[in-house]
């Protein structure tokens, strides 16, 4: 199981804060494609991704127990 977190616009689109899914072994890219198909989440190509609170790239493979967060363009400050 992996834990997926949504924020900002993505959270509103997904209608939920998080998902627990059996997707260990996927790359971030595959995960994005799957979310696009299953949840019709738009603009995932424009989000950064963090694995366990560190930014990472699309070719990273996710591991059992990881927390994956999709980070839309930030606007703090």
């Amino acid at each position: 199981m992996i834990n997926i977190l949504f924020f900002a616009r993505l959270r509103e689109e997904a209608g939920q804060e998080s998902l627990h899914v059996e997707k260990a072994g996927c790359t971030i890219k595959e995960l994005k494609e799957w979310l696009d198909k299953e949840y019709r989440l738009s603009g995932l190509n424009r989000t950064m991704t963090a694995v366990n609170e560190e930014f990472t790239t699309d070719d990273t493979k996710v591991t059992e127990g990881d927390t994956i967060a999709f980070i839309p363009p930030v606007s703090g400050g």
Binding site: T56, A69, G76
Partner: protein, 154 residues
């Protein structure tokens, strides 16, 4: 407010409180930046804002920016408090405080931090206009990241 140098809070924040965390006998200068809620942006009126954060990661990123600052300006000490939740016009969303023996470094490090925060820290602002709402920075066609936003493993 806690004594943590880097924190996210849903309570009103104060320049003095954040500055107090970095005051010390070696410092002769404390520069603070307060980001406040502006009423007008590009001719559009804001009624209020909602700030949301990925809180644990945001604190981690702020700490990382703090380490960058210590590397670049070794004599400085920095603290950041970012507020989340509902904010109104003139409310303070973020306070950055940097102390330093001499003022130049405090100004430089402070300005560096706000730039980095706007790039790297997972906090989002939702504008409530008179005629709608928008998550800032996330409009199609105005993708911040395509213009060289944060790089992974930065």
């Amino acid at each position: 407010m806690t004594m943590a140098l880097f924190e996210i809070t849903n309570q009103p924040i104060s320049a003095d409180d954040t500055a107090a965390k970095v005051k010390r006998p070696e410092a002769g200068a404390v520069v603070t930046f307060a980001g406040t809620v502006r009423e007008w942006t590009n001719g559009r009126r804001t009624r209020k804002l909602q700030y949301a954060a990925y809180e644990s990661m945001a604190v981690r990123q702020l700490e990382k920016i703090g380490r960058e600052v210590q590397d670049r300006w070794p004599d400085t000490q920095a603290a950041v408090t970012h507020r989340v939740g509902e904010l109104h016009i003139t409310d303070t969303a973020v306070v950055i405080a940097v102390s330093s023996p001499h003022r130049r470094a405090a100004y430089e490090a402070n300005e560096y931090m706000i730039e980095r925060i706007k790039e790297l820290v997972p906090i989002w602002k939702k504008e409530f206009y008179e005629d709608g709402t928008a998550w800032v920075g996330d409009q199609l066609g105005t993708t911040a990241y395509s213009k060289g936003g944060p790089k992974p493993h930065d």
